[in-house]
Amino acid sequence: MIKIEALIRPQRFDEVKAALDAAGATGMTVTEVRGAGKQKGRPEFYRGGEYTVTLLSKIKIEVVVADAAAERIVEVIIGAARTGEVGDGKIFLTLLSDVIRIRTGEKGELAI
């Protein structure tokens, strides 16, 4: 099984989620994170103190899929998340050694 970890723009989250549902991803886990990359933030001002935001809000989506499905799901995410502007984010793939469904105790691909 493979864990697909995608870091995307919050504004694209709705589209990505919809696309994943359409693609039949059985589930996903979403985390609010902050990211640093090539993209720079907008200036803020407080009592004349100027701030440059160095970490921007991003959404981390984790989807665990069977090895076979990984490539397709990655394409789906890229399709929905890309704007072409700096800050579109990244996708990381990791091999999992096992998956268990707590409710039933099922293991491996059955549990996805």
Binding site: D14, G41, R42, E44, Y46, R47, G48, G49, L55
Partner: protein
């Protein structure tokens, strides 16, 4: 309202009736002093009007919270600022010209320049529509100022999350001068057109709520919808904030309605009572409608109903009995709830339902005044409302005229003002500014911070430097505490 009451008393209502009015009351207990040239203000009437002015001022921050809680967090500061900035801008507009346009003598449609810059608006008592008021002229002026402040702020709810801040400021400044002030003159001003006609608006159903509500709708349509993703989540970011705002509005509204008696006493008390009853009834009816239709009595529904009830009783508050207030409260929740449902069909984006609550609620209240006005409550009522014993449709007819004038002035005024600003500088925030949120794009700030991972580098002159020096002078990574 009370001032009108006196006008008509002067205009020949039986002296007996007049006896019930504070004006008369004051005439009595100040009798010995009556001769003395400058009648000193009645301390009790003035005390209540000072308190009322403060209460109405508080309604604007209350409105900011009521609206702000419904916004998304990326737009919270912008929504708050749209209300707060009115406290700054409209105050000056009112002092310089607004008050004069609204209350100076002149023609039936606007006042002359005699009160501009508050010329001749002093610490002594004054006459309005021929009646001797018992409070200082300045107190009346500042009390009315608070109404002028909150009215344009009401509009902000409809255009939330997408209007340029600069364009908004320019819009409310002009709107206050060309829509609000003349309308106030017609309804309450010296020799105003609707005063003469005999249309009744105790505390501003037409002047405040209908005018702002219709303007809100027109402006929302001119701005266009927010740019939202097909499934974008626009749920309120902080409903407790909306409920705090509701509490502040309810509290302040006692100054708004009971203060419109222009004096302390029985009429103020009566307005206070019906205000409480209408707000309570409307809030209850709203959640009952929800309980039946969606099985859940919501907090937002309660808040919306309460405000709708306060809106509806506003024009009627000095003329109707407690029982009529219940009817008005029941009516407004049905009307406004339906109006909000309709929005989906019509498909405009009145973000926080200003039209449904304020315009429709204000119209219902103005007409309800024509249905429930009662001589027994206020001697100014020439003929009872349609549903009150011995009443007929005379007043109702006049109320319709008032409503139509308010609708026309609000709609046309907004079309013209916003049209011009749009042509000159644009009124809509860019797609990108809207996406990152108006707080950052319009104000260079965010409402909330403090997550440990919520970080930024200080580069500006003030606070920044100060600490930077510190940091520089510091042990490897911490500032040494340098003390005297």
């Amino acid at each position: 309202m009370h001032r009108i009451a006196r006008l008509q008393a002067a205009a020949g209502v039986s002296a007996a009736a007049a006896l019930l009015l504070p004006a008369a009351a004051w005439a009595q207990d100040a009798a010995p002093a009556a001769a003395a040239a400058p009648t000193p203000p009645n301390t009790g009437d003035t005390a209540w009007m000072l308190a009322s002015a403060a209460l109405v001022l508080l309604m604007t921050p209350g409105l900011a919270l009521f609206y702000g809680g419904m916004a998304r967090s990326k737009n919270i500061l912008n929504l708050l600022m749209q209300s707060f900035v009115a406290m700054a801008v409209i105050t000056l507009v009112w002092v310089i010209a607004g008050y004069s346009i609204a209350f100076a003598p002149g023609n039936p449609f606007f006042g002359n320049a005699s009160y501009m810059g508050l010329g001749g608006v002093g610490q002594g008592t004054f006459k309005l529509n021929g009646v001797e008021m018992t409070i200082p002229h300045q107190v009346f002026m500042v009390y009315q100022m608070m109404f002028a402040i909150i009215t344009p702020a009401l509009i902000s709810g409809a255009i939330a999350e997408r209007m340029k801040f600069g364009a908004y400021v320019v819009f409310i400044t002009i709107w206050s001068l060309v829509v609000y002030a003349p309308l106030a003159h017609m309804v309450w001003g010296e020799g105003g057109y609707l005063v003469g006609l005999g249309a009744l608006d105790f505390a501003g159903g037409t002047v405040v709520h209908i005018s702002s509500g219709i303007s809100a709708l027109v402006l929302a349509i001119m701005l266009g919808k927010r740019r939202l993703g097909a499934t974008e989540d626009v749920r309120p970011h902080n409903l407790p904030m909306t409920l705090i705002g509701t509490g502040m509005l309810w509290f302040g509204w006692f100054g708004f309605n009971a203060g419109s008696a222009g004096a302390s006493g029985g009429l103020a008390g009566s307005a206070f009572v019906v205000t409480q009853i209408a707000a309570a009834t409307a809030a209850l009816v709203w959640i009952l409608i929800e309980w039946v239709t969606i099985k859940k009595p919501t907090a937002l529904g309660f808040a919306t109903g309460a405000v709708a009830g306060l809106v509806a009783i506003t024009p009627a508050s000095g003329f109707v009995s407690p029982i009529s207030a219940i009817a008005i409260g029941v009516g407004v929740s049905c009307v406004s709830y339906a109006a909000i449902k309709m929005k989906s069909r019509l498909g405009y984006d009145d973000t926080l339902d200003v039209f449904g609550v304020h315009c429709m609620g204000g119209i219902w209240g103005a007409l309800a005044t024509g249905l429930f006005a009662d001589k027994a409550v206020n001697s100014v009522v020439a003929t009872n409302g349609l549903l009150i014993g011995g009443g007929d449709a005379t007043l109702l007819g006049k109320q319709v005229v008032g409503v139509l004038i308010a609708l026309a002035m609000g709609a046309i005024g907004t079309l013209v003002i916003a049209g011009i600003i749009k042509a000159v500088s644009g009124i809509r925030a860019s797609a990108e500014d809207e996406e990152v949120g108006l707080d950052v794009s319009q104000h260079g700030e965010e409402g909330y911070h403090g997550g440990a991972s919520d970080t930024a580098i200080r580069t500006g002159f003030a606070m920044a430097m100060a600490e930077h020096d510190g940091a520089a002078a510091a042990a490897p990574s911490k500032v040494a505490s340098s003390t005297i």
